[in-house]
Every structure is written in structure tokens, then in C-alpha cells.
């Protein structure tokens, strides 16, 4: 007998044709918005998180206080040097010290000139390990990683290799760095971090030679043996450097950044992003839900007379409810499925456009099955309930009142 009601409801939906599709449209617009917005919101959060992912709790960074302000040499700054490394090395609890160079360099390829960041690959094996660890042990997309014994070879970030020039750079190609010829050993795979995508990695010796760098470092990365003591080690390093340079507290010309410092700032950003994403999800759920409820409600309400007819020919309230529950449940389900598919398409389309505009895969969206199934279930349940409500009300009417509608 239940099957008969199912057949009846299905036939009804089919014959209502355009009306059914309009109701489904109301449902799937809401669901598509929900799925697209939440998927994009999650992608946005991942993108923001990705930019900071290289910060780990067991590393701290020593910088010149003025680094980044004005062109190099514009202020009289004490550059970090080998002596500083010796001073830092006195502090206990340090696993590895990796001095780093980061310079903007000219890169020429295929008669085009661009600029990007060159960084040094350390010579010591343990330091190399820390170096790659800071890049999340990224793999190459083509060619191979740089080895310490390579000379005049470089490895390029994904963006440099693929997007910087009209023509893609491939492993084995030659490029000019600051006017000197280098062979490209490999290109890194796409990273979530924009910085990583813009790297040119070369050996320390090559870099010092090329840029005529003497005893100076742009920053010193310190890996501590136990991340519990990162803050303590940072304090100790500050103390030693101050002593060495004979500086007063608060007047240092260097800074020691701990992950806690930088990460607490990041966490605020992440909290805000998370809040925004949750807000977007909540708003789209409410709007989507109301859209579904509204279309379903009106589509049942305008059939109050039909309910009156059915009552006058002997339908019990229960039977009327069966028919309408099946109908609105089906409409919700179909609308939910179409909406989910459309929403996913929308999210992928938008992320594709964003990534194209940025030239790197900054906004990565992923299929989330619980979101998809959840929103289909949401459409089904809201559809069912909002169809149930008016049909319940109408079924409670006296037949004569329902017929008058």
C-alpha cells in the first residue's frame, strides 16, 4: 500500500513538471550556495594556514633589527656574521644553527628578465636537513633536488619555473642569475606557500661568489633540541648577543623571533578566518534552509484544495501526510543532489579562477564527503519538514475549509 502512495507522489511530481522543477530550483540554489561557500571557506582557511605552515615550534630566527626597512646599507646596521654564530653556539640546548642568505636576484630566461628570491643551500649535511625540513621536505616536480656538491646549478620554486616566464623552465635549461649562467637541476612541486613557490635555491658557495657576499648572513635559524625550551633558548641567545655587543636591554640591533611570538599573531588571523568561514557556513545554511522551506511551503500550500478533495473522497489525514511527505522528501533529495553537484562545480570553478589569477595553487578546494552528504541530508530533512508543516495544517482543516482554498 505504501508503494501506491510512492507511485502516486512520483506521478504527481512528474505531471507537475515545471512546478516541480521550480521547487527543486529553490532547493538546489540554496544547497549549491551552502556547498560552494563552505568548500571555498575551507579552502581559504587551508590557504591561510599553508602560508604559515613552515613555522614550527622548535625553530627560532635571529634577524638584524633593521632588516627589511629601506635598501641595504641605507642604515648603519651590524650584519649578522660568523662571530655571532660562535656566540650563539655557546647557548645550551641548540641542535643546529643554519645561517641563511635571502636576496632578491635578477633571473633571465628566453630573453625575458624577472626578479625572485635566491636562498642558500647550506654545505653541512645536518644543516641541509633542517633547510629542507623548513620547506616541509618538498619534492621536485621535475629534475632533482640540489646536492651540496653541485656547482652552478639551481633548483626553482614551482612559480618561478612555471609561471614567471612566458615559456616554462624545464630541468636542464640554462638561465642567467644576476648575469651568470646556471643550469636548472630541477623544479619544486607546487606548494601552499607563495614564498616557497618563488624560491631560487643555489649552493652557498655559488651564492656568495655570485653576489660577492663576505662574512655576513641575512638571518640565522636555530633549531633547538627540545621545543619545550624554545623560549628559554631564545632568551639565552639574546643575553649572549647583548653581552657580546655590549648593548642595553631594549636597545638591541638584532631580534630573536620565536614561533610563539609569530604564531600567536598567526593564531589570531587563523581564528578570524575560522570565524569568518563558520559565519559564511551558518549564513548560507540559514539562507539555503529558508529558501527550501519557503518554496516547499508555498508549493504545498497552494495545493490545500487538493487536500480538501482527497479528504472529501475518503482520505485520512495520515494518508494525505504520506503523499506529501514522499513528495517533498523527493523534491528535497533531488534538489539536494543537484545542488551539491552544482556547488562543488562552482567551488572548483572559483578556485580555478583565483589560482589562475595568482599563478599558483593558492586556493586549493577538496571534495568533502561529509559536507556533500550532510547538505543533501539537510535539503532532504528541511524539504520534508517544510512540506510536512503546511500539509499537516491543511490536513487538519475541515474538508469544507480546505476545499474553499
Amino acid at each position: 500500500m505504501k508503494k501506491d502512495y510512492f507511485v502516486l507522489a512520483l506521478g504527481n511530481l512528474k505531471h507537475r513538471g515545471i512546478r516541480s522543477w521550480l521547487t527543486i530550483l529553490g532547493v538546489f540554489i540554496g544547497i549549491a550556495a551552502v556547498v560552494a561557500l563552505i568548500t571555498l571557506g575551507n579552502g581559504l582557511r587551508d590557504a591561510v594556514t599553508g602560508q604559515f605552515s613552515s613555522l614550527s615550534a622548535d625553530k627560532l630566527v635571529i634577524l638584524n633589527a633593521e632588516t627589511g626597512m629601506g635598501p641595504p646599507g641605507s642604515t648603519a646596521i651590524t650584519k649578522l656574521n660568523e662571530h655571532d654564530i660562535e656566540v650563539i653556539n655557546k647557548v645550551k640546548g641548540i641542535e643546529e644553527i643554519v645561517p641563511r642568505l635571502i636576496r632578491i636576484t635578477k633571473i633571465e630566461f628566453n630573453k625575458e628578465t624577472e626578479f625572485s628570491y635566491s636562498v642558500n643551500l647550506p654545505e653541512d649535511k645536518n644543516k641541509v636537513e633542517v633547510f629542507w625540513g623548513a620547506l616541509n621536505n618538498i619534492k621536485t616536480e621535475s629534475g632533482r633536488l640540489l646536492k651540496t656538491e653541485d656547482r652552478n646549478k639551481i633548483v626553482l620554486g614551482f612559480g618561478v619555473a612555471k609561471n614567471l616566464f612566458d615559456k616554462e623552465i624545464e630541468a636542464g635549461d640554462n638561465v642567467l642569475i644576476n648575469g651568470k649562467n646556471f643550469e636548472v637541476a630541477g623544479a619544486l612541486e607546487k606548494s601552499g606557500s607563495i614564498q616557497t613557490n618563488h624560491l631560487i635555491i643555489m649552493n652557498e658557495k655559488d651564492m656568495k661568489e655570485l653576489m660577492n657576499i663576505g662574512d655576513e648572513w641575512d638571518m640565522i635559524v636555530v633549531q633547538v633540541s627540545d621545543s619545550k625550551y624554545t623560549e628559554t633558548v631564545a632568551e639565552k641567545i639574546k643575553e649572549e648577543l647583548r653581552k657580546d655587543r655590549k648593548e642595553d636591554i631594549g636597545k638591541e640591533d638584532f631580534s630573536v623571533q620565536t614561533p610563539l611570538q609569530s604564531i600567536s599573531g598567526v593564531n589570531v588571523i587563523l581564528d578570524i578566518v575560522n570565524l569568518i568561514v563558520a559565519g559564511i557556513a551558518a549564513i548560507s545554511l540559514i539562507i539555503g534552509g529558508m529558501g527550501i522551506a519557503n518554496t516547499m511551503y508555498t508549493s504545498v500550500l497552494e495545493r490545500t484544495k487538493e487536500i480538501g478533495i482527497m479528504k472529501s473522497i475518503g482520505a485520512k489525514n495520515k494518508e494525505i501526510l504520506y503523499i506529501f511527505i514522499i513528495e517533498s522528501g523527493l523534491l528535497g533529495l533531488i534538489g539536494g543532489i543537484i545542488g551539491a553537484v552544482l556547488g562543488i562545480g562552482l567551488a572548483f570553478g572559483i578556485s580555478g579562477i583565483v589560482n589562475l589569477a595568482f599563478g599558483s595553487e593558492i586556493l586549493k578546494v577538496t571534495l568533502e564527503y561529509h559536507l556533500i552528504l550532510g547538505s543533501i541530508a539537510f535539503a532532504f530533512v528541511i524539504g520534508l519538514l517544510s512540506g510536512l508543516m503546511p500539509s499537516f495544517q491543511a490536513s487538519k482543516l475541515k474538508p469544507v475549509d480546505a476545499l474553499r482554498k
Partner: protein, 239 residues
Amino acid sequence: METNNVIELKNVAKYYEMGDDTVRALDDVNIEIKRGDFVAIMGPSGSGKSTSMNLIGSLDLATKGNIYLDGHDIEYLEESELAQIRGKKIGFIFQQFNLIPNLTAKENVMLPMLFQEKDGAEREIRAEELLKLVELEGRMNHYPNQLSGGQQQRVAIARALANDPEVILADEPTGNLDTHTGEVVMKFLNKLNEEGKTIIIVTHNPELAKEHAKTIYSVRDGKIESVEKRVNGKWIKHR
């Protein structure tokens, strides 16, 4: 309770509260429908014909008084029991036809049987039979909007007969039809009456009532003005 009356209205009133006003659509009305009778309810517009018809068919509840359906006071019936009895005992024919627009003629006729839990094959055979009876065998799979008014009313008649009810209620069944088509419908109701069904119609056409009915209730201003019965071809006033 005398079981000879299929339906009985006893001191029934129907009031509508309209703000401060009370519209007395029916006041202290007594109607007895005998089994096998052909009753016409007559009266001017707004006199309360439809109101009494709705009460007779238990589509509406009275403000005062009692309504008995086959001896049961409908006030004491559960919603589902009343629906079941209504579907089984009474067939409705409306002035507006009131077919379900999304169902074909055949599906419309099958619907009352679904609510009486008849199985699918039986519903189909019976619906086809009934549509043949009203001479619509060629229109079984047409939707209401693909049928003329007269054809729709015949589908409605077939639907009213689906559960082989004892009583057929028709509120101005010819109101939306031309004279000729109306005549065909009335003849059909007459035939059903001859086969033993109790027929109750609302009409404001005195000729129609006099020609086909056996009992005429005249309603005016919510009250029964007179009850006439045809005895040996003569109309005799009862009340």
C-alpha cells in the same frame, strides 16, 4: 435511531463569526434522508443550501445539533473513522468538478479506492468499468485540463461511484454545464437512483427538481421553509 434514515440532521445550526456579527447560515434545521430517496435542496442564493449539503456529507461540522450518518453521531467519530465511512458511503459531485489536476481521468477514479485500501488491479478494472459507464472509455488517460466541462463532470460521477456508495451528494452538478449536458447528468443520476442509490442534489432550478426529485427541501434564510414529497405524481407538502 431509525436505520431507515441514511443521514439525519437534528436541530442543526451553523453560525459563522464575522467579527462582531454572527452569520446564521443555518438555524435549527431538521433533515431526514431516507434510503433510496432522491432529494433536491432548493432555495435562493445565500439561503444555506451548500452549508446544509456540506453538513450532510460531513465535510463540515455543525455549530449546534447532531448529525447522524448511518445512525452514528459523527461528532463522536475519530477523524480516521469518519474519513473511512465518508469515503465508503458517500460519493461527492461538485459544481466545480474538483478533479485532481495532476492525475488522469482513470487515476482520479482510482483514488477513492486507494483510500479504501483496494488493491491496484481491482482499482484499475473498476475505474475502467466506471469510465465506460459514463462513456469516457476514450479519455481514460486524459488529464482534467484536457477534458471538456461535461466530460470532467462525468469523470467526477465515475469517481463518486468508485466505492459503490449508498449516497451521492451533488451540489449544483449542472451549474457549470449547458442545458443539454446538464440533462444528461440528471438522467444519469436518475438511473442511479432507480438502481437503489440515495441521491441528494442542490439546485435552484425548480423544473429540474420537480422533474427528477422525489423530495424537495426549500431553504430560505437558513431555515427549512417547506418539505414536499411526490406521491403518485403529485407534490404534497409535509411541513
